[in-house]
Amino acid sequence: MFKSAASIEKLANRLARLPGIGRKSATRLAFHILKLSREDACELADSIREVKDKVGFCSICNNISESDPCRICSDPQRKQDVICVVEETSDAAAMDKVEGFDGLFHILGGCLSPLDGIGPDDLKIMGLMTRLEKGVTEVIIATNPNVEGEATAVYLARLLRPLGIKVTRIARGLPVGSDLEYADSATLTRAMEGRQEY
């Protein structure tokens, strides 16, 4: 009895280390797993193991991938001279759906955040610099439009501009296809401030 309680506690402790899961929900999840059929529980354990065994990171762009180089880096149809820099894999997936963009990606693996102890050396910036030597003409910086993402964009722009490569930043403000009437006032005001001449 006591032994099984200890292993539930161990599982709950493990789950509580996951992002966004507090102690309470970790305990709830642990008891839920306990109630699962043996088959379901093992499938969960197996898929965790499988993810670790099969999925790795692309050695070129740092995207998560089951092959190395990844699907995108090894696609000759894509423009090889344009790289879009994003914070996370999920951002690359979102940008990949953008029509009119068929270049390559580079995943930084986060953004500058001194409060979390994350400096330039903790991001995959060296890998990006190496890639630039192979005839890249434009780097599009698509970090998040928050304080940390903007600071990361500023850092990258300062690093890359002296190399004579065109550096662009995705526009802030109104998402295309959105209705003015549904945009919040902050977005509208920033959009007004950032207006451009035709």
Binding site: L112, P114, L115, P120, A151, Y155, A186
Partner: protein, 362 residues
């Protein structure tokens, strides 16, 4: 703007208190320590989600209670809103408008309130942070974006300070800090420019002819008649560059709106070092009246007005001048230990506050 119902649970000295205020004046009688001011605080909290005197949420929770909850109904020119603000000791805070969770800043969009009380003297006599808190509470009611900018600015500031402490290059966050900080500075310039004029008018009225001036002193050098955001941003960056070595030594950001100052002077002498208690009180009241009037014009509705013991320290002719200044006010909440002037108790309702409960009478 009118509050028609208020219920406070686990708030300060009230385990549970309900209030059905009148549309006009509401007068709270009670001994010192009965919790009259706490009730004003609950009303301000209902409108704007924070204490009017800078108290933290943890302090506002009743002893040994795990949470506070303040809820009520607020009527504006166009709609009736059901508002609830709740805070749990573990740090979770919830704002609900019409039973839907909302951001704190949405309250600023919908409602406005001005509190006048004894603690206001520190705006004139206290440290610069008291003056910045005044700016933050009241300027946010004029521009919702100011509040958003403040939140972002604080984030950029703590990131930049962390970079300085770790010996990382602080300049990427400096660029962002200057961009957001310049917007805050410009907002303050424009607000104080207008506020200075009506504050000195009100002070002249209440004090029968004496003069009060206020001047904004941003830590980034710029003229107070500028409206040039780009110029302020450039100056901000220049100034950051100038203090770079000193910042590396002290490991903290020395330039920006978090270091700004407002200088008050009474009869051309610095009020902070030369003023008397009475002058500080009067100056602070003039300042709040000016805010009240500007808000009423800008928001096209009279803000909720909270007056905490304002007659206690003022002499008779100042009280007279003060009442002339209020003119058209909307809903008013007033605490007092003495009989208030008749002009302020029109179509009113009185409440006796004692032993942690409220008794109403017509």
């Amino acid at each position: 703007m009118i509050i028609s119902k208020l219920k406070a649970t686990g708030f300060r000295n009230f385990a549970s208190a309900t209030l059905a205020p009148a549309d006009g004046s509401n007068i709270f009688y009670g001994d010192n320590g009965s919790g009259k001011t706490n009730l004003l605080e609950a009303i301000f909290l209902l409108c704007l989600g924070r204490s009017h005197r800078g108290a933290t949420d943890t302090i506002m929770v009743q002893d040994e209670n795990p949470f506070y909850r303040v809820e009520g109904q607020i009527k504006t020119t166009d709609k009736n809103y059901e508002v609830a603000i709740a805070f749990q000791r573990d740090g979770r805070k919830k704002v609900q408008i019409d039973k839907v969770s909302a951001k704190l800043s949405e309250l600023y969009d919908l409602f406005c309130a001005v509190a006048v009380g004894p603690e206001d003297s520190v705006i004139i006599s206290g440290s610069p942070s008291a003056r910045r808190m005044f700016l933050d509470i009241y300027l946010s009611q004029f521009r919702k974006l100011y509040l958003d900018d403040l939140t972002q600015y604080r984030k950029a500031l703590s990131q930049r300070n962390a970079a300085l402490k770790q010996g990382h290059d602080p300049s990427p966050f400096g660029t962002i800090l200057a961009e957001i900080g310049a917007r805050i500075i410009l907002g303050r310039i424009q607000f104080l420019r207008e506020l200075a004029i009506s504050t000195s008018q009100f002070y002249g009225n209440i004090s029968r002819g004496r003069s009060l001036m206020l001047r904004y002193e941003p830590s980034v050098p710029c003229d107070d008649d500028t409206d040039d955001l780009k110029l302020i941003t450039e100056r901000f960056l220049e100034k950051l560059d100038q203090v770079r070595i000193r910042e590396q030594a002290v490991q903290t950001t020395l330039v920006g709106p978090h270091r700004d100052e407002i200088v008050f002077s009474i009869d051309n002498r610095p009020a902070r070092s030369h003023g008397s208690q009475g002058e500080w009180r009067t100056a602070a009241i003039a300042l709040k009246l000016a805010v009240y009037q500007m808000l009423r014009e800008k928001r096209r509705m009279p803000p909720i007005l909270l007056l905490d013991e304002i007659f206690a320290e003022l002499d008779q002719h100042r009280v007279g001048g003060l009442i002339e200044c209020f003119g058209q006010f909307g809903q008013l909440f007033l605490t007092t230990a003495v009989e208030p002037p008749a002009a302020l108790s029109r179509d009113g309702r009185s409440f006796r506050i004692g032993e942690n409960r409220i008794e109403g009478s017509q």
